[in-house]
C-alpha cells in the first residue's frame, strides 16, 4: 500500500495555468479514492478498534467551489467533498487536500477573495491522520507573510548535502550522488515545510463552533449560569453524537432552548474534550462550563 501508516504525504500533480479548478487533480483524487475503498484497507481508531475503510472515511477538501463541484461530479455518490468551511470540526481517518492551483501567480488570481491558503488537514483532532496533498509543485513558491514560519520551515526540514558554507562540496555531491536534488527541488521542500508550519499554526488558532439544544424546563441556560459547569449527556441521536464527539476543550457552544422558546439564548465554552459516557457503553458525553459570555437577546 502506497500510504501505509500515518502521516502526511505530498504527491506532485503536474499541471499549468489552473486557477480554481484542476482536471488533473480531479482524476488523481478519483483514482486514489477508488484504490483506497476497493483495496480492502483497514484503519484503527483512537480506541484501537479496526474498521474497514469506506467512502465515508475519506474527506476530500479543495480550496475552491469550482474544484469541489468537479470532484463531486467525478467521485462516487456520497463522497464527502467540500471546502474547509464545510468540514470544520469534523475528522476522518483519511483527508485528501487538492491544492488545485498550479502556481503562485495563478493562485494570486484565484485567492483574491480568500484568506490564507491553509493547507491544514485536522492533525489536532484526528488520532491517526492519513493525509495526502495533490498539488502542483510550483505552488510552493508562494511567499507566506510571516518570516518566522520561514525560519521554522528551514529548521525542521534538514536537506541532505546542504550545509552552510559548503557550496563546493554540496555541488560535488550533486554530480556524483545517487539521488541528487536540484536547487529548485530543495527550495520546493523548504517551502513545503513552510506551508505545513503556517497551516498547522492556522489550525491551532482555529476554534470550532457548535450549537446544542436543551429543553429549558429540564435544564435551562440559567441553570448553567448558576452551576458554572455541567456535564452534558443523555444525547442519543447518532448524528448528534457524531458531532458531539468532535467537541474539544476551548470550543464555543451556542445554547439553544427547545420547546415553546425555540431560540438561541447564550454562549458556553467546552472545558474538556468529549469523552465516552462512563455510565453507558458507547455514547459520548462531555463536560463544559459557562464563561462570561452574555445572554443573547431574545425577540
Amino acid at each position: 500500500v502506497a500510504f501505509a501508516g500515518s502521516g502526511l504525504w505530498f504527491v506532485p500533480a503536474h499541471h499549468d495555468a489552473n486557477q480554481s479548478s484542476s482536471r488533473e487533480e480531479v482524476e488523481i483524487v478519483a483514482e486514489l479514492v477508488r484504490a483506497l475503498i476497493e483495496g480492502g484497507i483497514r484503519w484503527r481508531d483512537r480506541e484501537a478498534q479496526e474498521h474497514p475503510l469506506g467512502l465515508d472515511d475519506i474527506l476530500v477538501i479543495a480550496p475552491y467551489n469550482a474544484q469541489v463541484a468537479d470532484l463531486i461530479a467525478r467521485l462516487p455518490t456520497g463522497a464527502r467533498v467540500g471546502t474547509v468551511d464545510r468540514f470544520q470540526g469534523q475528522e476522518a481517518p483519511i483527508v485528501i487536500y487538492s491544492m488545485t492551483t498550479s502556481t503562485p501567480e495563478d493562485a494570486r488570481a484565484a485567492w483574491s477573495s480568500c484568506t490564507a491558503p491553509t493547507a491544514s488537514t485536522s492533525p489536532r483532532r484526528a488520532p491517526n491522520v492519513r493525509a495526502s496533498w495533490w498539488a502542483g509543485p510550483r505552488l510552493f513558491r508562494a511567499r507566506l507573510p510571516e518570516p518566522e514560519a520561514d525560519e521554522a520551515g528551514e529548521r525542521v526540514l534538514p536537506v541532505p548535502g546542504d550545509r552552510p558554507g559548503g557550496t563546493n562540496r554540496s555541488a560535488g555531491r550533486q554530480r556524483v550522488g545517487r539521488c541528487p536534488i536540484t536547487a529548485g527541488q530543495r527550495r520546493a521542500r523548504l517551502r513545503l515545510g513552510r506551508v505545513a508550519v503556517a497551516g498547522a499554526r492556522a489550525y491551532a488558532l482555529s476554534m470550532a463552533r457548535f450549537l446544542v439544544k436543551t429543553e429549558p424546563s429540564t435544564y435551562a441556560f440559567a441553570d448553567l449560569k448558576r452551576d458554572k459547569r455541567t456535564v452534558w449527556d443523555g444525547v442519543s441521536n447518532p448524528v448528534a453524537l457524531k458531532h458531539l464527539a468532535t467537541i474539544r476543550k476551548g470550543d464555543t457552544v451556542v445554547v439553544y432552548h427547545t420547546g415553546d422558546e425555540k431560540q438561541a439564548v447564550g454562549l458556553a465554552g467546552a472545558v474538556s474534550d468529549a469523552y465516552p459516557d462512563p455510565k453507558l457503553k458507547d455514547p459520548k458525553r462531555w463536560s463544559w462550563t459557562s464563561r462570561t459570555i452574555s445572554r443573547c437577546r431574545s425577540r
Binding site: 468551511d85 464545510r86 470544520q88 470540526g89 469534523q90 482555529s206 470550532a208 463552533r209 457548535f210 450549537l211 446544542v212 439544544k213 444525547v235 441521536n237 448524528v239 448528534a240 453524537l241 458531532h243 458531539l244 468532535t246 467537541i247 464555543t252 451556542v254 439553544y256 427547545t258 425555540k262 431560540q263 438561541a264 443573547c296 437577546r297 431574545s298 425577540r299
Partner: protein
Amino acid sequence: VTLAQVKADPALKATDLARLPRLSVMPFTEAEYQRLLRLAGA
C-alpha cells in the same frame, strides 16, 4: 436569536439548525457563528 430569525436569514437558513429540527448537537462554521452573534446583538 429565535428560530424564526434563523430561518429568515439568508446566511443561516441552510444550517442544520434550520434544516434538521430534531438534531440536538450540530457544528457551526465560523461565518455562521459570527452571523448568529450579529443577529444577537441587533
